[in-house]
Amino acid sequence: MNRRDFITGVAAAGLALRFGPRAFAGQAASMGPLPALAAVEGESPAAITREAIAVLGGMGKFVGKGDKVVIKPNIGWDRTPEMAACTNPEVVKTLVELVLAAGAKKAIVIDNTTNQAKRCYVRSGIQEAVKQAGGDMLFVDDYRIKKMALKGEWLKEWDILLDVVEADKLINVPIAKHHSLCRLTLGAKNWLGATGGARNQFHQSLDKTVVDLSAFFKPQLTVLDAYRILVRNGPQGGRVSDTELRKTVIAGTDPVAVDAFGASLFAVETRELPYLAMARDRGLGEFDLEKVRIEKRKI
């Protein structure tokens, strides 16, 4: 990527964002017979991820040949997978494999971590998993963070990871966790890891922040890892007893619906998560699961 490509990319992204909220949201939403959301339960994180994507019509629906795809898991913490603080490495690995099999030129995995980056990448198991699958694991470089216009209701502009916005296709891969401020951290809050700057100031209006960020990064696909969920002491836990096995992966083209489904795993009412309603009002998706085409499977 040279500077010219970058400027064109940013300009294109800006234009796309300006004209219509759906411009980035992928094709699948408009395809009648396919569900907008797939929830698959099963023993193997890899198999249920594969199945969930298949239910949505396969990775080929979302990723084209030669695409540069960014996969954004939660790698925020220096914690092993059984602590359920970071996205399950098998889920990430499977997505990298699917993306590359769909003809993508590159599958880049990146997160702006909270603990020291290398420790998070290693202990989460994600670095090793991505390497095995042939993806590229990237550390966040300072010079690749740029203040960008978000045109949000709360965040007008913020420092954003260029590697994420420059992607041809974007897949959000959060993990479902307890959080003491926004109750649950699911897909929408995962975008904090695609920002730089003084992120600790977001908390003064966290619901508005996550909605503004969700409106800015529009992923083609959201894959919520609920294989093992964190039910207390979030967002990093620290004991296996803080987690519960749910052996589920929820994939969807509607990020709001994915989060709403995630909330149901914690028996949290959607109205307890104000950001879901705010996101719906902004046209980002639907949180009333009655209105969403969902396909549940058990394998």
Partner: protein
């Protein structure tokens, strides 16, 4: 010389390995060089009155020196290699023109050694300031490597700006993978001292080794009767004096009977520069006349005066308050011994600061009193103690920070966190925050949230979740202080009180939550 290059390379390789490589346990080889250093061994054992088994390696150096002289200085010492290389450059660039004969006194290093040894007897560990391994490691860790990393990072930025994005990326990613800390409170002065030590070579070849190095002095004392004796073949010698002029350490090869075996580092410059190849080092058990070997003029009176000087000066180090009462911000690394033993064992090498993955370990300037300069402390505003990391305890060469498994380390308190309610966002602004709570790594969390009703300037009230600390659970890791959004003076902060290693710096008798006050006993 090849041997020096090999050992310097080995030293650098081990030094660079002392960081988060991706492994939780990196083994003890990274600090092995230190264990061969007889000065560090002697001084830490004497000053702390504790034997540290790894220092058995120093006996190898002692035996080698007794048998073959200061080969350590000339063939192995990595700082010696730096000095020799820079001397060579200064000579080549004519900054340095060695005189025909140099009569400068070689005694200062012996005086330095005496003061260090007297200090050790009184429980002071001063060896680390001028010991070559400590000095070099500290300089590299706190100044040279960080400066190089910053320069490379700047280069990466420039490459990126010039359109070489791929190259810039490779460089910046590699830098992150090497986990090099680039922020050090005293990086500037440590760097200047290092440059200063190198610049001295423009005055005299191997200035440090000749006049300053206490380790060299100790080895010199051990090597006076070694087996490798310089021998000039009188029939070949043309008395040109080149050998004496180009002797790196002023050991005075010519005339033969003035050669000082305690100063010779066996660089073999004399032998190679001799136009008639008259100089050799045959094995010889013959005893030198004492006048020859000790013609570094160390009279008994001078030795006595230096010793007295040391005896009088050592107590000065103890006049500062840290000995009386633990300083607020002196947060020692986890596993650090109780303060008196820690000060007696720490050789100020900075290896722990190199290894710290967050860069939170910083050199002390004043907090620990004059004997604590360059010892490590955690500065949470720069970096915090990473929960699953015990690297600093693994790389300490002297056991001043006792080796810890991650599980054991997480049972140690290094301090306690406090909330400053007059600065904390929910308490003052009535706005949500909880950043400290979400970062607290222990489970259950040491930071609890309570509903707090803040009165705002306009008289209205706002209820928010506000942090309260459970001191029994807090380990003092400092991540709360590090991540607090109140940037200048964080509204939550860690102080040293409650640290497991101290029996006096406590708040409540049972603040450690059941762990014994000293887990090493």
């Amino acid at each position: 010389m090849a041997s020096q290059a090999i050992f310097f390379g080995l030293f650098l390789y081990l030094f660079l390995g002392a960081h988060y490589t991706g492994e939780d346990y990196i083994g003890s080889t990274v600090q092995r060089f230190f264990h061969f250093d007889p000065l560090l061994a002697l001084v830490t054992i004497v000053s702390a009155r504790l034997v540290y088994a790894y220092f058995a390696f120093a006996l190898i150096t002692v035996v080698a020196t007794v048998l073959f002289g200061r080969v350590f200085c000339g063939w192995i010492c990595p700082l010696g290699a730096v000095h020799q290389a820079s001397s060579f450059v200064f000579k080549r660039t004519k900054f340095l023109k060695p005189p025909r004969e140099d009569k400068t006194s070689l005694a200062p290093k012996y005086y330095i050694l005496i003061i260090i040894l007297v200090g050790a007897l009184l429980g002071l560990d001063l060896a680390g300031y001028l010991d070559p391994l400590s000095f070099l490691t500290r300089s590299l860790a706190l100044a040279v490597l960080p400066a190089m990393a910053q320069a490379l990072s700047g280069l990466g930025g420039a490459l990126y700006g010039l359109g070489a994005a791929g190259l810039a990326r490779t460089l910046s990613q590699a830098l992150q993978n090497w986990t090099i800390n680039t922020t050090f409170i005293q990086g500037f002065s440590v760097g200047l001292f290092f440059l200063g030590a190198i610049a001295l070579n423009a005055r005299k070849e191997r200035f440090w080794c000749r006049y300053l190095c206490p380790t060299g002095a100790l080895l010199g004392l051990l090597s006076r009767w070694n087996l490798l004796k310089l021998k000039i073949d009188d029939e070949k010698c043309i008395k040109c004096g080149l050998c004496t002029q180009h002797c790196e350490t002023q050991a005075h090869p010519y005339p033969n009977d003035q050669w000082k075996s305690g100063e010779c580092i066996y660089c073999l410059n004399c032998a190679s520069i001799c136009p008639t190849a008259a100089i050799g080092f045959p094995m010889s058990a013959r005893l030198e006349k004492l006048t020859n070997v000790s013609n570094v003029n160390l009279s008994r009176r001078k030795l006595l005066v230096t010793t007295l000087f040391g005896l009088v000066a050592a107590p000065f180090f103890r006049l500062s308050p840290p000995r009386k009462r633990a300083p607020l911000k002196l947060i020692r690394p986890p596993g650090a011994l109780a303060e008196d033993k820690f000060l007696a064992k720490c050789v100020k090498c900075g290896q722990c600061m190199r290894a710290c993955p967050t860069g939170g370990l910083q050199p002390v300037l004043t907090e620990a009193g004059p004997e604590g300069v360059y010892t490590p402390k955690l500065v949470p505003r720069i970096g915090y103690c990473e929960y699953y990391c015990s690297l600093c305890t693994q790389v300490c060469p002297t056991g001043a920070i006792k080796k810890q498994t991650i599980e054991a380390k997480n049972k140690l308190k290094i301090g306690s966190a406090w909330v400053n309610k007059s600065r904390c966002i929910p308490y003052v602004l009535g706005k949500p925050c909880i950043v400290c709570e979400e970062h607290c790594p222990v489970s259950p969390k040491a930071i609890k949230l309570v509903e707090y009703e803040a009165t705002l300037p306009d008289g209205t009230t706002a209820v928010q979740k506000a942090p309260v600390i459970d001191l029994d659970l807090c380990t003092g890791c400092g991540i709360c202080e590090n991540k607090c959004p109140v940037m200048d003076d964080p509204a939550i902060f860690v102080t040293s009180v409650g640290e497991t290693r101290s029996e006096t710096n406590r708040l409540l008798l049972d603040i450690s939550g059941g762990t014994s006050p000293d887990p090493y006993k």
